[in-house]
């Protein structure tokens, strides 16, 4: 039964969702909306599970004094501080905890932690990529054979397409880049998208019909 019930549920809801798409009846829409609500409810449990898992793993690392055990302290401090600030707000002349309303959004600390810690950290991490890409491009883009040469030329053309200092060849490069994006790139991407789409349909049907059962785990 532990395997039959999930298989049955997947079959029933999978088939329903396929047919629902083609049935614009009110009752079909109602069931569809009802099912969407259920996905949120399941998602909330997944969120709680994720937070619990993060706390458990972090606490275990801190207790065991594993290498880098200071980082989980920062992780937990960030987690609890943001939760605290998010639920603390100002209303009717005084500060208080508000769990059901959005007063926490006006808490300046909630805003400042995001603006002055989160944004600079994430932006910096992403900006570092520029240096690694520069170094990787220098090492990897070598015209060793015809295919590598084609890749190299295409990369140079696309990189140069918005360079305004190329004089009369500037528009030629821009047009060539536009052709590369709109013709060979489009053809290749379209083939990939169609292939992926067909693969998704096949995999979905296999799951709905119970042929693919990997999602059930080994239990």
């Amino acid at each position: 039964m532990r395997r039959q019930i999930p298989l049955m549920l997947v079959f029933i809801f999978g088939i329903f969702m396929i047919f629902q798409y083609f049935v614009p009846h009110e009752s079909s829409e109602w069931i569809y909306e009802f099912l969407l609500d259920w996905i949120y409810i399941i998602g909330i449990f997944a969120l709680a599970l994720g937070i619990w898992s993060l706390i458990r793993v972090s606490v275990a690392k801190i207790k065991a004094h594993k290498s880098g055990w200071g980082y989980p302290i920062i992780t937990l401090a960030g987690l609890f501080l943001m939760i605290l600030f998010g639920f603390t707000g100002y209303r009717d002349g005084s500060w208080g905890f508000y769990f059901m309303t959005a007063e926490g959004l006006s808490n300046p600390m909630f805003r400042h932690f995001f603006d002055y810690i989160m944004i600079p950290i994430q932006s910096t991490m992403f900006a570092l990529l520029a240096f690694f890409i520069a170094s990787a491009a220098y090492r990897a883009f070598r015209a060793r054979n015809i295919m590598a040469s084609l890749l190299l030329v295409a990369a140079l053309v696309v990189m140069l397409r918005f360079n305004p200092y190329l004089g009369p060849i500037g528009p030629v490069i821009a047009d060539t880049a536009s052709w590369l994006l709109n013709v060979p790139n489009l053809a290749a991407k379209r083939a990939i998208i169609i292939g992926v789409g067909l693969g998704m349909v096949a995999t979905s049907l296999k799951i709905i019909l119970g042929i693919e059962r990997g999602y059930l785990g080994k239990g």
Partner: protein, 288 residues
């Protein structure tokens, strides 16, 4: 080790150093880089520019701070254009850190809109934009595909209240606004696979005009949708944002950033050419 071997195996710290110097100098020294506007960006600008005051543009801010450098300028340019044209804007944020980005953008644009400005020969008087009247910020909900589908039925399904907890029915500009049918177009600014959901579940099912603003690396992946007319416009990376600013005659973060990007690309090209010259000359010596 001869000079060609050295050209091929330069220590990567030299690459980093030259890139830092070029980025710093071009950032500090103020000058403008000419921008050539392409059709895919022009079509977004033209679409928004021809909307009548009061029409609604839906802007989906689906990016986190890591894509801020490329997508925030796009967001500022499009949103300011909408508000200057007296259009109404519905904003959602379907990535986890999106609400912070959206709120920051709205606050900064609100300040900028207080000033009188002249764009393309038209004087726009400064005004205060009001939450609920000029824009509605619906906030974040998880499971973006479901949210996009839900909004196709009614915005109130995934968002019974806005980000600040006000019921959608109490928001003046949301009166009579049920779903995408009341929206002139959707502009999705995204740095991830939320874009695919907007194309497949949003435009594919509800047929609204959709334009995309993406990071530079994502741009090439979405050209097929432009060709198939599933999207009516595409802005890719900082260059896309700079083109929009150029069209709007409103130079901002993107045009500022373009001078850094143009020269950083030249440095990368220089190193690629240097490596290849070293490689070919080295091979020639080996053959001899």
């Amino acid at each position: 080790m001869n000079i060609f071997d050295r050209m091929m195996s330069l220590d990567r710290r030299w690459v980093f150093l030259l890139l830092v110097v070029v980025c710093a100098v071009t950032y500090i020294v103020p000058f403008q880089v000419p921008i050539r506007v392409e059709g895919e960006v022009r079509s977004i600008y033209d679409f928004i520019d021809t909307l009548k005051p009061g029409e609604i543009v839906f802007i989906a801010i689906d990016y986190d701070p890591n894509a801020l450098a490329e997508l925030h300028p796009m967001c500022y340019a499009v949103m300011e254009h909408c508000f200057r044209k007296n259009l109404k804007v519905i904003v959602t944020a379907l990535s986890q850190n999106g609400p912070g980005m959206a709120e920051q953008a709205i606050l900064n644009i609100s300040d900028s809109l207080m000033l009188d400005r002249e764009y393309n020969g038209v004087l726009y008087e400064g005004r205060e934009i009001r939450n609920g009247e000029d824009y509605a910020f619906l906030g974040y909900k998880p499971y973006f595909a479901l949210v996009i589908l839900g909004m196709g039925q009614n915005f109130r399904i995934p968002f019974p209240t806005d980000y600040y907890g006000t019921p959608l029915d109490s928001i003046p500009m949301m009166q009579g606004v049920q779903n995408y049918d009341q929206v002139a177009c959707v502009v999705d600014l995204s740095a991830g696979n939320i874009t695919d959901a907007w194309i497949s579940y949003g435009q594919g099912r509800f047929y609204f005009p959709l334009a995309l603003g993406l990071t530079g690396v994502m741009g090439a992946d979405y050209y097929p949708y432009l060709n198939s007319r599933q999207i009516f416009g595409l802005m890719a990376g900082l260059y896309g944002a700079a083109q929009y600013e150029e069209m709007a005659n409103n130079p901002g973060l993107a045009k500022d950033g373009m001078r850094v990007q143009v020269y950083a690309h030249l440095v990368i090209i220089l190193f690629i050419l240097m490596g290849n010259i070293g490689y070919f000359m080295g091979r020639r010596d080996e053959k001899k």
